[in-house]
Symmetry: C2
């Protein structure tokens, strides 16, 4: 593709995306496709001859768009917001065009240094412990997802634990990890991947609102110790996936410190709220954490993937994940003067993800980010009041930040049918979970282009469809 | 950012990238930055107020660009090509703008179905075994990198092996994995991550050209069996990182079949060449493989990240990596009618990466891709002849596809100094490796915009600088 054609096609796509941002609210949020619909429209083999971009783009609009569930719609209230924004998309565009590999400092110094720098910015902006800053013994790195961050933390903790414990010949130390029944599923995946085994993950029960039960955690650790297991890792959650429950980090931290157990704190979506001083209570005790992560790709206007992962001791992380073959050696690495992020993550290669994050932080500024977060949380509170006041609905979890969980008083089956009808109609999109064994609808507010009118409209739709179902 | 501003800024960046594609060949390939140079120019904290895009973009040009090592320069001959292209960049732009999550079929059916479909296209286009097609019991998925693909293969093999072997109480089966001394470092990382342990990875010696020594492999497996270990995984490489050596897949495959050991084949860069029938010899025996991967983000004009990973039995993969919490359940998943790619990879979330790959395959067509690959290989052959004819240089590995490894006859120290001078001058970029304990310069041809004149110029530079050093 010549530079001239690239320019022309680039303009076309920029135009299309500018219009998409406005038009997307009129599209069905959930794709109306049935399994196989998309593939049925695609030819069985790749073209022998190159095709014109007109043809490719026409198929994009005709075949692909109807198969899209519009995460960027202001009417998307499902799962979590995967919000993106103008500056983020533009940052990703530049990153794709530069096409640099950030595996080593040498392979693009700016890719590494900008990443270290903006992660330091975030430590200050969110008032995270200074042990996570690069000037200390710790530091931050961008991972693709909180799943990978949790895995890196777990692996580092495993290495630390097995280094401390003398290995009997041929018998691995029997490690045990802890989380709550509400912890994200990536924790279960991580213990499987790390070879600890799913059966060695203790899922501790939670209290009424979904936070881990401290006494049960302590008892489980004590019980395991007395049975010859070696407790080595606890994952605490700031904002569970189901209900945004907050585990008591300070109390868990004290237990971990006493027991010499790694504490990882997962603040995937909710962590972003700590940009506002009034929502920082959830982070009390974070100074006990060995590692922490949150996802700008959820609620901070930065398109997936962008998880910020911080460790208090970067040497433990890099000595776990580091491998240095001859073909990657270079003077800067050998001198130990630089960060080589390949040793902070699972894969070797890495994109220049800091660029979009830098664009977002500078475009919005701290004030701008705070403004949007406060607005989302305020709207959630207002909607919670409306739900509470409505005779047919019950709020199952007291409002927490930007997520509401509610159910219809006609019961689980009805609520389930309500959700399905709403999603199939396409005007809005919501997802579900179970709370205290009751089916409930999740309403998560955080899309870049969501305004109060979208929330009002969504609530009216919920009420209207509920009435038609009765 | 308003749609109007997004449009205006988008145009600016598209213009910039169109010019970059032409101008990049005049920039120093290796960044001239010293450690800390970039950070020294960045303010210590994020801005309180949002900034104008003019300011942000000015800093991008002033601070970031000098810190970039230009992987997209036609004078980049280091490591491996991380080549991108117009259609790929445009696909990534759309993907960032749509901002969809492909973790489940439901969360964007087109994201899943297009991926399955183009990976099927590639099986046919590259004449890979039909067991890798989705109509069989296998299938393909896009991973971020070959490192992650190898890890997923290893984990699946580990689960299969431990399922077959009865576990004694508290004693894990002592698994052993095999690769060659030339296998990519991600293999060592994978056995560490999976909890197998680096000491259980047998690095088998290679022959003169860097391919695994079959007898040594067989002996190591037999030896381990007789010592109570359980051999479970072999990684064969199609094109090693150092010298592009090809392991004999068919012979290894027969051993694996007999020993009931998982065979993973890593074709990261070289695999792309199999788009041309005349280079398919390297894939003979691939029907023995349980899994295979190659990277369109290396030599197929698709920007990082895009690794294509194929398995012969998708059920084994998904039963290893699958986790299904309540909040991810949905009708399509429960009915088993769809692929949910979250169960084919380490993280949960995933970008819409198939879009850029689809754009590339359609823009170039099979003929177009073959044309460029043949050209790169022909140029490598021509350069090999020039090197062989030159009295001061020695080709250490007979030309193989698009990579040449050579050294100066003045010895290791001289060759090392030559490489450093060349890279520091910035006109071209090359990297090094060791072959039979000799330092050697790698010259890898595969950049999107590289023409024969760039290769000629690079060779002239090498000769010129070598003369100044003598």
């Amino acid at each position: 593709m010549s530079p001239e054609e690239f320019r022309r096609r680039g303009y076309e796509l920029v135009d299309w995306l500018a219009e998409y941002q406005t038009d997307v609210e009129r599209l069905p949020v959930l794709s109306q496709s049935c399994p196989g619909d998309i593939r049925a429209q695609l030819p069985p083999s790749m073209p022998a001859q190159g095709e014109s971009f007109d043809d490719i783009f026409a198929d994009f609009e005709r075949i692909i768009i109807p198969g899209i569930t519009h995460w960027q719609s202001p009417n998307f209230f499902g799962y979590f917001p995967a919000n993106t924004s103008g500056p983020s998309i533009l940052g990703e565009l530049l990153s794709a065009g530069l096409g640099v590999q950030g595996m080593l400092w040498l392979t693009s110094p700016a890719c590494t240094e900008l990443e270290t720098h903006v992660l330091d910015w975030l430590v200050d902006a969110m008032a995270l412990p200074s042990t996570f800053k690069s000037a200390s013994e710790g530091g931050g790195v961008i991972q693709d997802s909180a799943s990978s961050a949790t895995l890196c933390a777990l692996l580092t903790a495993r290495e630390r634990a097995t280094r401390f414990e003398s290995k009997e010949k041929g018998v691995e130390p029997r490690l045990t990890a802890y989380c709550s029944t509400e912890t994200h599923s990536s924790m279960e995946k991580a213990v499987m991947i790390a070879g600890i085994g799913r059966e060695r993950l203790r899922k501790i029960p939670t209290d009424e609102v979904g936070a881990i039960n401290l006494k049960a955690l302590q008892a489980a650790i004590a019980d395991d110790r007395s049975n010859g297991f070696i407790p080595f890792f606890v994952c605490a959650t700031i904002g569970t996936t189901s209900t945004l429950a907050i585990d008591p980090v300070a109390d868990i931290g004290r237990i971990c410190r006493r027991e010499r157990v790694w504490l990882h704190v997962d603040g995937a979506m909710a962590g972003t709220a700590s940009l506002c001083p009034e929502f920082r209570e959830m982070h009390i005790g974070l100074e006990f954490a060995d590692s922490y992560c949150f996802n700008p790709h959820k609620w901070m206007f930065t398109n997936f993937d962008c998880d910020c992962f911080f460790v208090a001791d970067r040497f433990e992380l890099t000595s776990t994940l580091g491998v240095l073959p001859e073909y990657l050696r270079n003077r800067a690495t050998d001198a130990g003067e630089v960060i080589d992020y390949r040793d902070w993550q699972i894969p070797l290669g890495r994109r220049f993800r800091a660029l979009k994050l830098w664009f977002v932080l500078r475009h919005y500024g701290l004030d701008g980010l705070q403004f949007h977060i406060r607005q989302h949380i305020k709207w959630a509170k207002e909607l919670a009041e409306i739900i509470t006041a409505h005779a047919d609905f019950e709020l199952l979890v007291p409002g927490s930040l930007n997520l509401l969980c509610f159910t219809h008083t006609n019961g689980d089956e009805f609520s389930k049918r309500l959700l399905e009808c709403l999603n199939e109609a396409g005007a809005i999109f919501l997802t579900h979970t179970t709370v205290r064994e009751r089916y409930c609808i999740r309403f998560c507010i955080g899309q870049t282009h969501t305004e109060w009118r979208h929330i009002e409209h969504a609530w009216n739709e919920i009420c209207r469809v509920a009435e038609t179902l009765e």
